[in-house]
Amino acid sequence: MSLGLPAVVRKWTTDPDKPLQQGAYASPLRDERLAAWLGAALGGLFSVCFVTGLYSHLQQNPQGWLPIPARPAGLYRLSQGIHVAAGIASVPVLIAKLWLVWPRFVAFPPVKGVSHLVERVGLFPLVAGGVFMTFSGVANIAQWYPWRFSFTASHFWMAWVTMGAIVAHVGAKWAFARQSLARPSRRPALAEADPVLGTVAEPEANNGLSRRGFLGTVAAASGVLTVTTVGQTFPPLRSLAVLAPRDPGVGPQGYPVNRGAANAGVLDLARSPGYRLVVEGRVSTPLALDLDQLLALPTTVGRLPISCVEGWSYSASWRGVAVRDLLAVAGAEPDRTVLLESLEPQGAYRTSTLNPGQAADRHTLLATHLDGQPLDIEHGFPCRLIAPNRAGVLQTKWVAKVTVL
């Protein structure tokens, strides 16, 4: 840094070639080793979110070349539970990491050479992407929409921007972070070299959080957020989930819903005596079943989870006609793709598709009963789809039409 700079610039900026602890930012916590640990944790958490997020995207945007298997039944519940939990746990880690490296934001001169320029430009999608992904995810599970864009589309495409920035950043920092992590922590070495100095340097001697204490604090913050939310999908911790946006035990028939009957505009349609479940398409006997005929069909009972994309889930006992049995009644060939349509007049999720493997599963049901009781209209009366390993938004409610493709 040139000595000709005004004192105020020298005081509040940092030299990009020097360690993070400089001048006004002299906290002993601004340590390269700590930054590397936090970065590694964040990279791991974001990668887990990315992979589970891709799986959720694939559920909602089926690709013919990579069909979603019907089993294991709880796979989506596990993966989406992990997605939301890892995202929540990453919030304190991201904040800590950004705080720790913030002096680099006010580096002066801002750019030193071509590679430094490339690295710094890449920090924008890294920081902005990380902040956006966690903010938009947390807002979405709280059903807070202060924006006009589609959450799913924007969260998905911004995930690519953020992961790309992480790849570039890991490449830029890999060797340096490895060296920082390989270096033994400084404090014991200092105490060994000079016991007197080492004693003074003990953080317990009035100097605030130690580096280890700081990492512990970040872990504690992630832990508190996890313990107070993960019960929305992990039943043993349900009673502790006081900050979870849903309680898997609160709602009609004791279970929550994501789209109510009033919002869907089906209150009258579902209760109308004119309701018919229509089965058509590539069938030898098209059907139009009224409620009594629907209830007279042979039923199957299955214990299956509802797993919301927003991270809550519950498992329940469902009873209804298996789709494969319904198709047999209509004289359809097995191994067909099946399109389900809701009574819901509009909405992004008024239809969903079963691939042949899903349609043929013995537990892919058009459920009329939940835990032995007739289905509440909020849960999809007269009948709803419930199938294993399936995103909650694709468990179509108020089903009125089954088309064999």
């Binding site: 002299a26 002993p28 956006f132 992961m163 009035n206 508190v224 900050l243 909020e378």
Partner: protein, 163 residues
């Protein structure tokens, strides 16, 4: 958390010269440029997706939140935290300082996470089962547990070194 006093603990193990040489070598290397190329290719996939699906992603509105979030953090939140940390470093007695700092960090993060729940924005979605709890009360309970734990830790520390 810039602390008012510095100790020998602050001194880096390796000198600035070593570090500079090291970082320069890492940045100039093939690994740097390969990962930069790969990373920017993935970023381009995301940007193309945003632009090609502009009906859903509303690039103008999205950019406001993406850029705004980064600027809000870097220009407002981070400086405020630094100032707050200096205040805490000076105001809180030495032996309680680390615990108070830790409890403040945990409290701030939990409060930040709970903000949309306490404000109950989700009720606007007219979902009968959304936000079933009294989140303001629950947040206070969680913060109470955090500070009770902090108080217990301070007591333990004082008993361990009664100076």
């Amino acid at each position: 958390m810039s602390l008012p006093t510095r100790t020998g603990d602050d001194q880096p193990a390796s000198g600035p010269e070593d570090r500079h040489q090291f970082e320069t070598a890492a940045k100039g290397g093939a690994g740097f440029w390969l990962s930069a190329a790969a990373g920017w290719a993935v970023i381009a996939v995301g940007l193309r997706g945003i632009l090609q699906n502009s009906i859903d992603t509303r690039p103008g509105n999205l950019a406001r939140f993406v850029v705004g979030g980064a600027l809000l953090h870097d220009l407002v939140v981070a400086p405020l935290v630094i100032v707050a940390a200096v205040v805490v470093g000076r105001a809180v007695p030495g032996r309680a300082r680390a615990v108070v700092q830790g409890a403040l960090v945990v409290s701030a993060v939990v409060a930040l996470f709970s903000y949309p729940l306490v404000r109950a924005y989700g009720l606007a979605a007219n979902n009968p089962t959304s936000l079933p709890h009294d989140y303001a009360t629950n947040l206070l309970v969680v913060l109470g547990v955090v500070w009770a734990t902090a108080a217990a830790l301070v007591v333990v520390r004082l008993q361990r070194s009664p100076r």
